[in-house]
């Protein structure tokens, strides 16, 4: 009941509360600015300017995140959000992906003849939800953040409004996404019923005290189903290929990385906090991880559409990340975090190439179109090759260390069977990624028409993605260290956390009492 007492004593947010959600504030303000400017500016000239405002907003969010990292970690808004190394890591991924996607969208919007300032606004609002998800420690706030990010991406998926495939993809994403959300919410309700709270730490403490009821198990299972849908893990993956094929490519770059990173952050918090007293989680995650890797990779073998192929590959990658979830927290959490970062870099890059190469109406997306790209546009072919090699997991790219850490974390937890399945799957995966590379360099081009030169925005986006992919593959130490640092804050069984939480409440109460006395 300490929280409700605290509520009564302190009803006005403190300055520190606002700093705990600074990136979200910055993103929201810039999102609103984009919407306002869109209404007053001349439509024919406003596109680049609005994009620039959104870009400043994304970089502002990166800056705000860096500022948060300097500020003492802790809770904000009555233990609704928690800023720690863990949330800062994911904030950074979300903000960086947002910035790169906005850069990649500049010329895309022109080529597709889409005039809409709200596109950039929606990307920023989606990023608000994703950032909030990674710092929220309260299930209802997580639900709201999940919906902010999902609703924005539903609209973005249908942004090529006149194209039937795009609106179909938006519809499928919307229906299945809301379906999954309802499952997640039912899980939250059951968890609330089992423990009387929706705060992750309170739930964890209540479950630690023994007698875990059937309600709690059911709640966790429902939540896992809902979140599994959102990260496209098998058997909840059927929407992925359709949605990724129909949605605009820069939007796919966005929604295959940033929301996934945020949902994985939620899963990490939920699974390693709430679920830690429950050892049976292992086999459930084991099965989902093995299924995702196998289904994703095998279905990708027969795809001819490159966007669809990468959609199946993203299912497989969700499986690799889930392997880390089955491992021990001390090595599994940093491995999953590192994988998310590396995957974000390489996948955003790959989709940035696709969105540039696709041309008007995204005509060029099949394997035959990519034939001979090495001759037609060597630079584009080389960048795509780097991302594909990283997706395979070739050394000197981020993908290699990502897979390496995940599998070694699984080996430490003695999950030999899962590691064998994972490594076999990586070998299958190499085949279809190499198929694209072979098509680009070994096959004769179907048409000789030169590819449009890479424009500045897309060029910058590609450059950033390449640099990050190679950086993570050559010097992964710093990022991994930061990820490991966050483990101590997200400890299993809440050793540190549950000690800290009452302490924070006490400290705040003490200051409130002092203030009350001063009056």
């Amino acid at each position: 009941m300490a929280t409700s007492l605290n509520d009564m004593m302190q009803t006005v947010p403190q300055w520190s509360d606002y700093i705990r959600i600074l990136p979200e504030i910055v993103l929201s303000l810039f999102g609103m600015a984009v919407m306002m400017l869109d209404a007053v500016m001349d439509e024919s000239k406003s596109q680049k300017a609005l994009g620039a405002v959104a870009l400043i907003g994304a970089f502002g969010a990166i800056g705000a995140t860096l500022y948060q990292a300097q500020y003492p970690f802790g809770y904000g808004f009555w233990e609704m959000v928690r800023v720690d190394a863990f949330s800062i890591f994911f904030h950074f991924i979300v903000a960086a992906v947002t910035a790169v996607v906005i850069l990649a969208s500049f010329e895309y919007m022109e080529v597709q003849r889409i005039r809409a300032g709200e596109y950039y606004g929606l990307i920023l609002f989606g990023a608000v939800g994703m950032s909030l998800m990674s710092s929220a420690v309260e299930l209802v706030l997580i639900f709201i953040a999940l919906e902010i990010s999902s609703i924005a991406t539903y609209i973005l998926a249908g942004f090529r409004r006149r194209s039937a495939t795009s609106s179909e993809s938006s519809l499928k994403y919307f229906l299945l996404g809301s379906f999954a959300t309802a499952f997640f919410l039912y899980g939250v309700a059951l968890m609330f019923g089992a423990t009387g709270s929706t705060s992750i730490f309170a739930i964890s403490r209540s479950l630690e005290s023994g007698n875990i009821s059937l309600l709690a198990y059911a709640g966790l299972a429902f939540m896992f189903v809902g979140l599994g849908f959102k990260v496209a893990a098998a058997p909840f993956h059927v929407w992925t290929p359709d949605v990724y094929e129909g949605a605009p490519s820069p939007v796919v770059a966005f929604m295959s990385t940033a929301p996934k990173a945020a949902v994985f952050a939620v899963l990490l918090r939920v699974i390693f906090e709430i679920n830690s007293p429950v050892p049976t989680r292992m086999w459930l995650i084991w099965i989902v991880a093995a299924l995702s890797m196998t289904i994703g990779n095998i279905a990708a073998l027969v795809q001819n559409n490159v966007k669809r192929l990468l959609a199946y590959s993203s299912i497989a990658h969700a499986g690799y990340i889930l392997v880390a979830f089955a491992a021990l927290p001390s090595s599994g959490i940093p491995a999953a975090m590192f994988y998310t970062a590396a995957y974000a870099a390489m996948n955003v890059g790959a989709f940035a190439v696709i969105s540039h190469f696709g041309g008007e109406g995204e005509r060029y997306v099949t394997m035959e179109d990519y034939a001979g790209l090495g001759k037609r546009s060597p630079l584009l072919a080389v960048t795509l090759t780097i991302f594909l090699l990283s997706l395979i997991g070739i050394p000197a790219t981020g993908g290699f260390f990502a897979k390496f850490y995940v599998f070694s974390a699984a080996l430490q937890a003695n999950l030999v069977g899962l590691v064998i399945i994972g490594v076999l799957n990586s070998a299958i995966g190499a085949y279809y990624y190499l198929r694209i590379i072979v098509a680009m360099y070994m096959h004769e081009p179907k048409q000789e028409a030169p590819v449009a030169p890479i424009p500045m925005g897309a060029g910058l986006a590609l450059a950033i993605s390449v640099v990050v992919t190679i950086y993570l593959g050559v010097i992964p130490g710093r990022v991994l260290n930061y990820a490991q640092q966050s483990v101590s804050e997200l400890t299993p069984v809440g050793q540190v956390v549950s000690l800290q939480a009452p302490h924070a409440v006490e400290a705040r109460m003490a200051t409130n009492v002092k203030k009350a006395l001063a009056h």
Binding site: A164, E168, S170, L171, L175, Y186, P241, D242
Partner: protein, 100 residues
């Protein structure tokens, strides 16, 4: 007083009706209504649990869920209109340009 169990069973039935409707109905609007039914099943269990725990928070969550459902409805209906404009059908089986 009606026992908690009854509320939970009713909310479970509502949720299950929603899931069934989602899976077997073919009209997009009906499917969408099924999702709303699922959310309302959840709302009922939130309120029932709030009464059981004497925690007001459970009832407040229902408002959040309603607001989110309203936002979802606004976006969802707009998407359905966009689909109808390009395909002139509300049957999900006919919205099949992207193979599953």
């Amino acid at each position: 007083m009606v026992p908690l169990f009854y509320y939970l069973v009713l909310s479970g039935i509502l949720f299950a009706c929603g899931v069934t409707g989602f899976l077997i109905k073919r009209n997009i609007i009906t499917i969408f209504m099924s999702i709303e039914l699922m959310l309302n099943g959840v709302n009922l269990s939130f309120v029932a649990f709030a009464a059981q725990w004497h925690a007001l928070s459970g009832q407040v969550f229902v408002f959040f869920v309603m607001v989110v459902a309203a936002a979802e409805a606004a976006v969802g209906l707009a998407i359905i209109i966009a689909v109808f404009r390009t395909r002139e059908t509300l049957n999900v089986d006919k919205v099949d340009l992207l193979k599953l």
